[in-house]
Symmetry: D2
Subunit: 333 residues, 4 copies
């Protein structure tokens, strides 16, 4: 079993603002600087690039050079259909022209992604949804969303589109809020090149079992990509992988492994107050432990325990491999 | 717009135990006594009967007589595929014989439902799921569940089966946990006579917008029945309708009304420490207020506000009708 | 019973950024512009001013003139001990110089508050706490916090200081996270001029009953101020008052009324995507309804029902007054 | 550092009912049988006995003999002030005679606890609180509670009373709902022999950091006892220790260790569908791992990292010891 490729959203290496720290948690980081930081991690193979870049006029040639210098590929482009123009919605904006503008922005992102040789364009319509009871006709928002995704997927048949679902934030309720809802929407598009990007943390704080959600998407050949991180189960805290939910994160990777899934093991951490390079290294170290544990795990015994639905036995079998592997990577071996 | 038919789960009029009050919250109530109490409410048309009855040897003729005397019809039978024999699972039990036993129990319930002229058999596999990370292969539980439902629906083509989804309890995680997951499973059965019973409280504490979930099920012609109650959004408290979330409950009924849905407005309250007849009356009074508000609501203005996604305006339009209607029913007019 | 004074945090009329909409939800709004907007609401008497102002060099004379022109008083100053310099903590920053800087900033805010004739300085140390398990010695953070508050309260014996507690955000866990914890800390300071600002939404999504929390603070003479808003119980959504939890918000005001509390009824709403003046008017209208309902409520009957802990009866008594009052204000009467 | 004493609530070895599995998850287990099962675990030193016993007429001499035979001591008695008679409240029941009856039951439990040589009587007034907004005057419930505890503590000055707080269940809201609230109540009693029993799971799903809560109680010399288990953070699932939240459970024990706390490490697990003896062994094995990790932990380095509030460094230091220790116990060494 070969080592997976590790990746990260390039925003992992940016600086952040929020509604209170309006002056930011640190000085702004340009896209090219973020790529350089990503390169310093040492074990990243690819990055997901949110776009427009910072600043917006980054030259594509310079970008490719920066990626090459950092030893990184671009796995995806994430168009920012959730910033200023789209704060009342991208695909679901009440204004038709703004809905069109969102589709246009994604279309240009798809062209960029093609140019960069990406695997997929990520769709995260973070402002699509509602804030208040009675604010909108949910069926209308659903139709807007499905139609926009269908149009994009049809216009770019050689590109893959991943929908990253999330229960909420920045909207109080998002349209693509759960794995199953998003699968229903994807199947409604009728397009084969649309799938799910499953963010572990979104799934967790949305009340799903991330392992179960991954299994559902896998069973329908729609798990195109993953993002991993951790949280306290009530919000998208985007903490370092495994810093709270070690066992459930391992269960998630076990599900991917059991299905023979071979995508990128990708970080979506937001180290607001931490060193971003160190945070990436720590997250990857934990994923390395998972990879190692999957090799030593007694898969046959676990399968028998799961067939018997024997929770205690299954956990003992898992812990035997997991803790030893984690101890090894923690010790630096 | 004619008054809807009101219904209730017959367990609304039972007494309860829980893991602490093991001696019960009140003296046991037999099925026939519960029917008599349901009749005292005065505005109930139908009840959903959980089965086996209490005691188990209630004669069907006596039951029909009791229903007739109370002026009630039986809208559904709910087989108890979650009690003693099935505590480790009904459709998903690790033991094949117990899985078969669950299907057999539901089959007999379907025969009883046919005999009683019911609209549907309710499937609530409350013990189907897991308690611990790694306890089971989620895909296997899914397949067991889909296959069992398909077998039942195929064997009883003239009966309708409603799956009532719920995030958890008594299992820590249930297989049919959300509206969208359940729709995926239902569509996988390929059977037209399987739909959803949407319990408002389950949807609410599962993090859904119940109105949005109802809309999704309606858009696929799978909303077969509803149960209503209320809770504090963290657990299935089964409180009296509207005692916490007045606006969102009204939004739920507004969605049903907009789709022209004409099913029973049914209570699933658990008045542990309250008078069950009074609790039913109070829940129905609030639903009467909703019905009245739907008649005075400026539907056209609301639709325009929703098209503009103007949350403040939409809420003002709604409140104008809702509060006046609620004031009227509260005043007894 | 005379009409209460209504107030608002001046940030209600600002524009916002968050970690996704980094370009903001609207063009920046200066402090003086925000004051003008607050004046347009028509029923506000006072505002709470976060400080430093926007821009930072607003002249105090100009500020007073703007307040006067808008017909507003300054009820409080809220020093921003949670922005750039303090993102790793204000009172609890690991760096002693930064802790001192936080105390200095509050001290200057206290001088400004004195100059403006404010009732209190609000302490909201939003960055004081932790993000990760094992990140800090919680006892040390507690001591830093208590000592800072004590020093401030001792240095400004004629000013009142209100601690606004909040479970989390922007920190994953805040030091002053609940009403009871904050009361323990306040009593530990030994200072009479320190109390609680109870934010309804913080209390609600922190799992408290806001009415119960208010009662606890009142019983110890520490309820100095309130902020009101609403949310979906999982996050500090800062929605318009009463847009989700009508009954519990009224229960909160009923508790204040029963204790004879006479402070400002103050808004802390964040209308990210809504018109801020309209949002304020809508929140105040609902509070007007509460005020009216408190006048018609059968307090004696309610007290008897509460003595009997008869939930159904208590709710019926309350709804009779509440819905009628809300219908009246919704109808514009 | 010597091995701690391990304990368990005797109900860990009982069978359970809930509101759905009314026929129970297994055949009833008598108190004497439960003691025998507790003895089979092999590493338990003490048990907490809920009382009245099952059946109610267990002879005290037989009980003592059973304990002796099983090699167990009785650390506590837990009077069932939450069963049938008290479903509308124990200390806070609206009926004065029932309130008196609750105090009487605890008094007899205190006599039994004295006879058995227990360390404390546990007070868990699970039915004290409310279900609905407006149901009761929270201040009245608070006074009833404080007065009852004061009376008991005063009447039995040589016995210690532990209040086990819990956010909810079976009541929707309990009076003693958080660590800080309970500390306020305890200090209001003015009695030195009243303290807190901190249940890790209650703290976790109540939104507290259990380590922080323990630190707060320790700082006031009120941490008298602990119960440990685990859950999914939304309910009191009473799962096996460490099956979900390994790091936060270890942080909790680290806090106890840092304060030199030397009480019993006690299980409060509810193995509804699991083998109770195996579940106890698995929970204790994890606690053994914690004990071992505390011995190898670089306390000085951790303290320095915590002083700097360096989350990533602190977690790396902790994981190095924790994973190695857990791997050792998982391997059976």
């Amino acid at each position: 079993m070969r080592e997976p490729r590790y990746g990260a959203g390039i925003w992992h290496f940016a600086s952040y603002v929020d509604r209170y720290a309006t002056e930011g948690y640190a000085d702004p980081v340009s896209t090219l600087e973020a790529i350089e930081l990503a390169g310093q991690v040492g074990s990243l193979s690819v990055v997901d690039l949110n776009w427009p870049f910072a600043p917006t006029d980054v030259d594509t040639g310079d970008l490719k050079a920066a990626l090459a210098k950092a030893g990184l590929g671009a796995v995806a482009v994430t168009p920012e259909i959730y910033n200023r123009e789209f704060v009342k919605g991208g695909f679901t904006n009440p204004d038709a022209a703004t809905r069109r503008s969102a589709i246009d922005l994604v279309s240009r992102a798809a062209e960029l992604a093609t140019d960069l040789g990406c695997d997929y364009v990520k769709l995260w319509p973070g402002q699509d949804g509602v804030d208040y009871p009675f604010q909108a006709d949910h069926g209308q928002l659903w139709r807007y969303s499905v139609e926009a995704v269908r149009e994009l997927a049809t216009n770019f048949p050689d590109m893959r589109f991943c929908i990253e679902y999330k229960p909420r934030e920045p909207r109080n309720r998002m349209v693509f809020s759960s794995c199953a809802r998003t699968l229903l929407a994807i199947e409604e598009t009728g397009c084969d090149n649309v799938g799910i990007l499953l963010d572990f943390g979104h799934s967790l704080y949305g009340g799903e079992s991330p392992a179960e959600a991954a299994g559902l998407a896998l069973s329908r050949d729609r798990l195109f990509a993953i993002d991993v991180n951790d949280n306290f189960r009530g919000w998208d805290d985007d903490m370092v992988v495994g810093s709270v939910h070690l066992l459930e994160t391992f269960e998630f990777f076990h599900t991917l492994h059991a299905a023979g899934w071979e995508g990128v093991w990708q970080l979506d951490q937001f180290p607001f107050r931490e060193d971003s390079v160190q945070a990436a290294r720590d997250g990857i170290e934990t994923m390395r432990g998972f990879h190692r544990a999957l090799q030593t795990l007694d898969h046959e015994a676990l399968r028998a325990a799961q067939d018997a639905q024997d929770a205690l036995l299954a956990q003992r079998i898992v812990k035997r491999s997991l803790y030893a592997a984690m101890a090894d990577v923690a010790a630096g071996s």
